[in-house]
């Protein structure tokens, strides 16, 4: 074995160190340093729609849905320790509630979506409460089976349109409205959750993930906190589902499809687990890519699985963490 003569040294940029303290706002350059990535993300999301045609605007809408799902997956997996492989459950419940309200009671989408978001999240949480006792991969397996179970029940009972689904739901009045609704929701959810995980509640949730016995010993009920976390994650998913139902004016059992569970996971792994921004970024990269490959049929599933595996094996930290490192640190080679 050859001894290495040099190694890479990483140092924090001085501006990053200065920005951490009380004097973060003492100069324009520091304010710009702190604001730049956030403003870039917001502006990017708001400006891109102007430069693409109607078809790709639609794709951006569904990318937004996947971004919400990825965000909820990342929040549950990295901050609460619940690996939920059943993102489709949230989408399905939200979509069905909004669609049924619209179909049977003729409520407008602006009424059904908030109702479906809150009621759907409550129902999803109630369904998941018994599973919260399970840990690790057992929770993963049960949550993976729940959407399937919902599909089988709908087929067996032949309710809610059975295998055919219900079509001709109300859609949104204009494409720019539907586009900015979902983009605003993604940004709001992203910044809300980022803030939440740094509050006291976020600390408790991370405690639940790392050592739940210690949290219990401190007199805090882990189940209560898990329930709250699941409810918040379900809010994002159910909003996505309700929005999706009205986006295409259709509901059916494919709202419970495995795509809604797999693509967000791929986006999270690609973007970087635990970074919250990463999954959103991953969703906005992966969804258009899989859309561009639509002509190849099932090849796109194969492709995004390959990307998923490649990232897991070779770049487990994900895009966002790498970018963050490049932004905050500089590297240089030094002699050993």
């Amino acid at each position: 074995m050859v001894a290495k003569t040099r190694r890479k040294k990483r140092l924090e940029r001085s501006i990053k160190v200065r920005c951490e303290g009380l004097y973060a706002l003492s100069s324009w350059s520091e304010i710009a340093y702190l604001m730049a990535p956030r403003v870039l993300l917001i502006l990017g999301l708001l400006v891109i729609p102007f430069y693409v045609d109607m078809y790709w605007q639609r794709v951006l809408c569904s990318a937004g849905i996947y971004a919400l799902l990825a965000l909820s997956f990342d929040f549950l997996a990295a901050y609460v320790g619940l690996v939920c492989l059943g993102g489709a459950l949230f989408i399905g419940i939200g979509g069905y509630i909004a669609g049924l309200l619209n179909h049977y009671f003729h409520l407008s989408p602006f009424v059904t979506i908030p109702i479906a978001t809150i009621v759907g999240a409550a129902i999803s949480t109630l369904v998941l409460i018994p599973c919260l006792r399970l840990r690790g991969i057992y929770f993963a397996i049960v949550s993976f089976m729940l959407p399937l179970f919902a599909v089988y029940i709908i087929i067996a009972l032949n309710v809610f349109g059975g295998t055919e689904g219900i079509s001709a739901l109300d859609t949104f009045p204009s494409i720019s409205l539907e586009l900015y609704l979902i983009l605003a929701a993604v940004l709001a959810a992203l910044f809300a959750i980022r803030r939440l995980v740094n509050e006291d509640m976020g600390i408790i949730l991370r405690g639940v993930k790392d050592n739940d016995q210690a949290v219990r010993a401190s007199g805090i009920s882990i189940t209560a906190y898990k329930i709250r976390a699941v409810f918040m994650a379900a809010l994002l998913g159910c909003f996505g589902g309700a929005y999706l139902g009205h986006l295409y004016g259709w509901l059916g059992i494919s709202l419970f499809a495995m795509d809604f569970s797999i693509l967000p996971i791929a986006a999270t792994v690609m973007g970087g687990m635990g970074s919250l921004v990463g999954p959103v970024l991953g969703a906005f990269i992966l969804t258009p890519m899989s859309e561009a490959l639509r002509g190849f049929g099932q090849l796109r599933v194969v492709l995004y699985c390959l990307i998923l595996i490649a990232f897991m094996v070779y770049k487990p930290e994900g895009i966002m963490n790498i970018l963050q490192r490049k932004y905050h640190q500089f590297e240089k080679w030094e002699e050993v």
């Binding site: 399970l134 840990r135 089988y152 049929g297 194969v302 699985c305 487990p316």
Partner: protein
């Protein structure tokens, strides 16, 4: 009397069949015999998964895809390359074993110990294989998908067993299934390799100190497990047809048996196979074929919720789960 096979080949009794039968005695006899057949089918499907996951703790979510792949390969060897049936079967089993080895060697070895990553990665492998096969024309598999791509039974014909017609293929399944269970439990309890496999599952650190190479053992487990999935495929697929959907179902069945039974316990796996097999058979007889999947998934969820360690699980496993 018509026997209609469902495409998944697992529950092979038709509703039509039921509606023509009147005598209750016959009915219960039929449930008994076909319930047993179904249970053995479940056990056979789950054997490979139980060996890999239950014994050496590698969650091989590519199990179902290997099952389907072996079906495709056997079909291809027989119909495209013109091999004799037996040779085709042996070839595909060897391919399955090599594939299992490669999945571990290339992907899973780097994720060892991170259970979630192992699941996601092996599930991704599974999707690659299944969706790749679903695409037409890949690597000469042209026109594979469809209701008519079926394997021949080993021996054609039926036999009248206590008033119920059972085909020879199902009798072979019972025979091989029981044989494999006995062989595997002997293998894991009385050979050096088998004991090392169980040692890795119980305490990896201690096993490594005693000179067991844990990666080597996991590779062996993956190879044997994949070959077992293939064996189940060539036995069971002649009852139905080969489609990509079968792969997902098989994965769920395997997970169900393995988890309900309690990890690493052969007795538990067999018991679970019988519980699921009969639950599904009886629910089909009572409510119709549509309810079969509801009952299956419902049983899994209920057992996991109320007895997370599985039917015959041990205390240690309970702690890990809850």
């Amino acid at each position: 009397m018509t026997l209609e096979y469902r495409s998944d080949g697992v529950s092979a009794i038709s509703i039509l069949h039921h509606s023509t039968l009147q005598e209750p005695d016959f009915y219960s006899m039929e449930i008994l015999i076909y319930g047993t057949v179904n249970s053995i089918i479940f056990a056979l499907i789950a054997l490979g998964f139980t060996l890999v996951y239950g014994v050496s703790r590698v969650p091989n979510f590519a199990h179902g895809s290997i099952y389907v792949l072996v079906g495709f390969l056997t079909w291809s060897f027989v119909n495209n390359s013109g091999f004799p049936y037996a040779l085709a079967v042996i070839f595909s089993l060897v391919v399955a074993a090599i594939l299992g080895f490669l999945i571990y060697r290339i992907v899973l070895i780097r994720l060892r110990g991170m259970a979630t990553s192992e699941i996601i990665a092996s599930f991704a492998v599974s999707l690659i294989i299944l969706e790749g096969l679903r695409m037409q024309g890949i690597a000469g598999f042209k026109g594979f998908i469809g209701p008519f791509y079926t394997l021949k039974p080993f021996i054609e014909g039926k036999i009248n067993l206590l008033g119920v017609f059972v085909d020879y293929q199902r009798l072979i399944i019972i025979g091989v299934g029981v044989g494999m269970v006995i062989l595997l439990s002997l293998f894991t309890h009385h050979t050096k390799t088998g004991l090392s496999l169980r040692a890795i599952a119980q305490d990896e650190q201690a096993a490594m100190m005693l000179g067991v190479n844990s990666d080597r053992m996991a590779e062996i487990a993956m190879s044997i497990g994949s070959a077992l999935a293939g064996l189940a495929a060539v036995l069971i697929l002649p009852l139905g047809s080969i489609t990509a959907e079968v792969g997902y179902r098989v994965l769920i069945y395997a997970l169900a048996v393995c988890i309900i039974g309690g990890l690493g316990s052969w007795g538990g796996a067999i018991l679970a196979a019988f519980v699921i097999g009969f639950a599904m058979k009886i629910s089909t007889a009572l409510f119709g074929a549509l309810w079969e999947s509801v009952v299956l998934v419902g049983t899994i969820i209920l057992i996991l919720l109320f007895k997370p360690s599985g039917l015959l699980g041990k205390q240690k496993e309970l702690e890990e789960r809850v």
